[in-house]
């Protein structure tokens, strides 16, 4: 492919700067390098812009929608090697009996190829970015850069020695330097603060200071289950939100996953601090965690995005599914079919997700923004006749309809072929991982 691409006579669906979603039919878009250079309805202007960059490719837009790639705002990508091995179990036997014993035996290649497998799945489903919370920051990020995939990636930032957690400043400093100097802006670092229940009380302040020193966002699980809340109240006399806030861990760069069981006060704190909440409807339903109250969070002014959680608790990584389910869950639990409309969940899955991950120039199809785009083929029974293109994307579409995915100006999936990931190798290695970690 050439460096410049002209998307011709295509339907553009994009979040706009006015907090809504714009639909433009018979539109044109030009990307050059990693930047969107033209968006509009003039073929002539689009052609002039494209020609100004030299030779260019044309992507024919008949029966196609061009929209931003999705952001999977809560992923554990390497966990795809634990897919479909332990289902229909209660949380504890699943986590402590099946998942953690396997994680304890993971070696470097398990992180790498599990991660690449998830990237392949996400890319095929129109996702171009993830907030990835997992150990193996460097090895996973190198895989992301190879695949041309954008991530906010956690540094672990700690070591478990003789039963005690210690901060690992070297790892954080090295990873922050690596992200800045060697990833072409594809990877932004954050710091993993797993949850309020995994560490002893005295460890949260050192973690917070480490994050502050290296200016990393915090990535954290909050109030996923009723048990977590009950234990926290029992131990600290506060909710997980309140207790984490007491350490100063909740800021306008914190990404908080789940947030299923919140009080009014919790929601006020999350809104006041500007925390980004990553809602995970599939995972919360499958693990019987409950229904996050998106409507109350929305009313309280909490900033909302969407994630899949790991492939071992979902069991796929399909952001179309999560948009659909987020809307469905809000409608069904409130007995109101007008809430969490298509426009709202579409923004959560795109623009808001990018802002949550710190990629402020992604998630809107507009001049000067990054060229992170997906092309949806609606020439298929599942999406025909198109009707409202935004409704079609949220309520009818799925990975089957995604034809191409461009990240940072490069097609990583072109006309249904992955261009950057060697799937035969990934398949062989992940099969071996699953077998070995039994």
């Amino acid at each position: 492919m050439r460096n410049t691409v002209l998307f011709s006579d295509i339907t553009i669906v994009t979040p706009d700067m006015a907090d809504s979603v714009s639909i433009m039919e018979h539109a044109y878009c030009v990307t050059s390098g990693n930047t969107i250079e033209y968006v509009g309805v003039s073929k002539e202007e689009a052609t002039q812009v494209a020609e100004s960059f030299g030779e260019y490719d044309v992507y024919e837009g008949k029966n196609r929608i061009l929209c931003p790639t999705f952001v999977n705002a809560h992923a554990h990508a390497s966990m795809s090697i634990f897919r479909n091995i332990a289902d229909d179990l209660a949380l504890e036997p699943w986590l402590f009996g099946e998942i953690i014993p396997r994680e304890d035996k993971m070696i470097a290649k398990d992180f790498r190829y599990g991660h690449l497998l998830s990237l392949a799945e996400m890319i095929e489903g129109g996702t171009g970015c993830a907030a990835n919370m997992y150990d193996g920051a460097r090895i996973c990020s190198e895989a992301s850069v190879e695949a041309g995939f954008r991530c906010q990636q956690t540094a672990l930032g700690k070591k478990f020695i003789d039963g005690v957690w210690h901060t690992d400043e070297d790892e954080v400093r090295d990873f922050v330097d690596y992200c800045k100097n060697e990833t072409n802006g594809l990877i932004l670092p954050s710091l993993l603060v797993h949850s309020i229940y995994l560490y002893t009380e005295d460890f949260y302040t050192p973690l917070k200071e480490l994050g502050e020193k290296y200016k990393t966002p915090i990535s954290v699980h909050i109030s996923e289950t009723r048990t977590e809340n009950a234990n926290c109240v029992n131990q600290y006399g506060m909710s997980p939100v309140e207790k984490l806030d007491s350490f100063g861990l909740l800021t306008d760069t914190t990404v908080a996953a789940h947030c299923v069981h919140l009080s009014d006060n919790d929601r006020t704190i999350l809104a006041d601090r500007g925390v980004w909440v990553a809602h995970n409807p599939s995972s919360n339903m499958k693990l019987a965690s409950g229904f996050a109250d998106m409507i109350s969070m929305q009313k309280a002014g909490v900033r909302l995005c969407l994630g899949t959680d790991g492939a071992s608790s979902n069991n796929n990584q399909d952001m179309y599914m999560e948009m659909r389910l987020a809307s469905f869950m809000a409608k069904a639990t409130s007995y109101d079919s007008t809430v969490l409309k298509a426009s709202e969940v579409f923004r959560m899955a795109t623009r808001t997700g990018y802002l949550a991950c710190g990629f402020t120039d992604c998630g809107i199809i507009g001049k000067g923004m990054k060229a992170d785009l997906q092309i949806v083929d609606y020439d298929c029974p599942q999406m025909w006749p198109l009707g409202n293109p935004l409704s079609a994307l949220v309520y009818s579409c799925g990975p089957k309809c995604v034809e191409s995915t461009m990240i940072d100006g490069k097609f990583v999936y072109y006309k249904r072929e992955l261009t950057t990931i060697d799937m035969e190798r990934v398949k062989a290695e992940t099969s071996e991982s699953m077998d070995r970690l039994k």
Copy 2:
């Protein structure tokens, strides 16, 4: 394709006669005509059986799952022409403001091509049969037979003249004869009794007698919304289940859609009568009808299957989605991740659906059963590594992974190409329908 097919070295996942699901790896299956002639793990035996029918084709099973086609036990297929035109609305403005005014203007070709469009979508998603509740019995059934698709299809059985409903015995008799004599067993008739709220009280007994005379099952919506229940109690002093039962309309051939709001007594009646309940998780969530209590129905002994409802209230017709959502909904509402396991929703979507529709020799991969089969390609990031094949089908798979669909021994979808439906014509006609009916 030849008349005989040998599926070679494939993973078979099938409901069995013992009320569970069997998984057979490195298995073989031979179909000849519309019948399964061999199932087992012996290549030699399979080959002998295949050869006994003369020349045969081989379907290579590497990285493939063979399982029964799904039954969409509650469909309004022609409504695909109203897809994505009216979303995020309350039920009344949606139904009375957007859908019914369009339905009133439908002409014959709208029924035909809308129906074919839905069949194409279902076939591509591994569905081989539907309980289709809609007007246009004959025209829809002719389309089904052309497409090689199995249906339990409602006869309307009534006419609306001068504001009054009258039974239409001629239509029912003719349609029953047609099904028996001209559809090669693909179409079974039922009688449309829309709901307890659409007709005056005196019309239910004539409808019931008409169904009895022609031995047709009854197809009915029950307790979809709280409003329906409240109105019924207000008018009759009984719930919809109780009132329909008082007319004798609930029997062991009745297919009752939705059943979202039931009392203990309602569930006891449904179980005692042997009614088949078609659960529609996506539609019930999207229209904010609520959560059907599948666990209580299961405990009461109600027979459960799954449906998508129409494409205008879902907005796709993906039985993988419905299996997944049925399980998720039951888990989340009960705070118990061990309920409605993969095996249970898989049986609901396959064997139980066929029994509900009256196709008693479908839905199990076993010798002598009908050859209604789908082939799933798990050589893709979304389903890799496979893990438990049943979990993978229910929790990871989707229409993207369906490679082929065979109905009544004939490939209607072969290696991702529809073989019986002229999609260019269907697309043109349904686009015209959507535009005209605006």
